[in-house]
Amino acid sequence: MPHISLPEGLPGITSGFAFRPETAKPMRELAHILLHEPNSLTPGERELIATYVSSQNGCYFCQTSHGAAAASHLGSSEVVKQVETDFQDASVSPKLKALLAIAGKVQQGGKNVTSADVEHARTLGATDIEIHDTVLIAAAFCMYNRYVDGLGTWQPRDESMYAKMGEHLATEGYRTPSMPQPEPALK
């Protein structure tokens, strides 16, 4: 059961967003820019970074919903599973592996990133903005994951729900709710 009275029937972060629309707006906007807007990293690559960090943080809701969004972009869930298990062995580019290594360091704490990590990513073709966005995606998911788990949100084990949500996130992005919203209570 959630730690506070969140709206019922809404899973994970969508319940926190419905509870506090004032903070939901910038949080949605941030995710939309980082994961959905045009970027030299594809949306699939950026969703893989988000999924990987969420799996390292052990956040079931975020890992599953962003994993579904990544699978929707990439047309397969195989690579998503590989990245979660061992990204060095996954069928992704060496550049993305180097960025996932940076994201993994950020997940443990910002100071873990070294100039050698960044240099390595750069030799494999990563630009400054790609490195910036990787650090911020990883940092942002250290927020979203803690928000979702720290409120004790409802995180159903229902794969078809996440698949639908992932489809919505992949096509529509993050500015609009991915779940039908409950009717506002009559006052």
Partner: protein, 190 residues
């Protein structure tokens, strides 16, 4: 030296925000709502939560600037800010804020560390659902801001006076207003 080519002369998160104004806008909107907008928790209390989490994450820039904003919001009581960082259970703050700081420190370790007992305890000290929500989100957000600032290897000056002066301005004017000096006008809302 920063890991990427951030604008020089802008310390900590300001360099990163000037580098990428598109993400700076929602980041400033979020922190404005969480720490500066009217709330049943005072700005000073909320800045203490942000400072405490930044201290636990060992982010020099964030704990210094938010510590300075907290002090500016608390009649320049820098001693209290130091005390909260070192040992908040023995600081001169309300029992409710102590209970919220416990929740924030659990969130800093990971969201799953927060227990129903932590939340019940805060509630028995008068915390509302909204205050508990905002405490969790402030703590979570600073786990982002701290990683963003340290993960890019930003410039973090040691000069305390610089933070003290900046802290007074942010406490007075808020985050969105002061961001106008380093962000292009068209990205700053309001």
């Amino acid at each position: 030296m920063p890991y990427i080519a951030l604008p020089e002369d802008l310390p900590g998160i300001r360099g990163a925000m000037a580098f990428r104004p598109e993400t700076a806008r929602p980041l400033n909107d979020l922190v404005e709502t969480l720490l500066h907008s009217p709330n049943s928790l005072t700005s000073g209390e909320r800045e203490l939560i942000a400072t405490s989490v930044s201290y636990l994450n060992d982010c020099h820039y964030c704990q210094s600037i938010h510590g300075a904003i907290a002090a500016a919001s608390l009649n320049d009581n820098e001693e209290l800010v130091k005390r909260v960082k070192a040992d908040f259970q023995h600081a001169d703050i309300s029992d409710k804020l102590k209970a919220l700081l416990v929740i924030a420190s659990k969130v800093q370790k990971g969201g799953k560390h927060v227990t129903a007992e932590d939340v019940e305890h805060a509630r028995s000290r008068g915390a509302t659902d909204l205050e508990i929500h905002d405490t969790v989100l402030i703590a979570a957000a600073f786990c982002m801001f701290n990683r963003y600032v340290d993960g890019l290897g930003t410039w973090q000056p040691q000069d305390e006076a610089l933070y003290r002066e900046r802290g007074k301005r942010v406490a007075r004017e808020g985050y969105v207003t002061v961001s106008k000096e380093y962000l292009p006008a068209e990205v700053v809302t309001k």
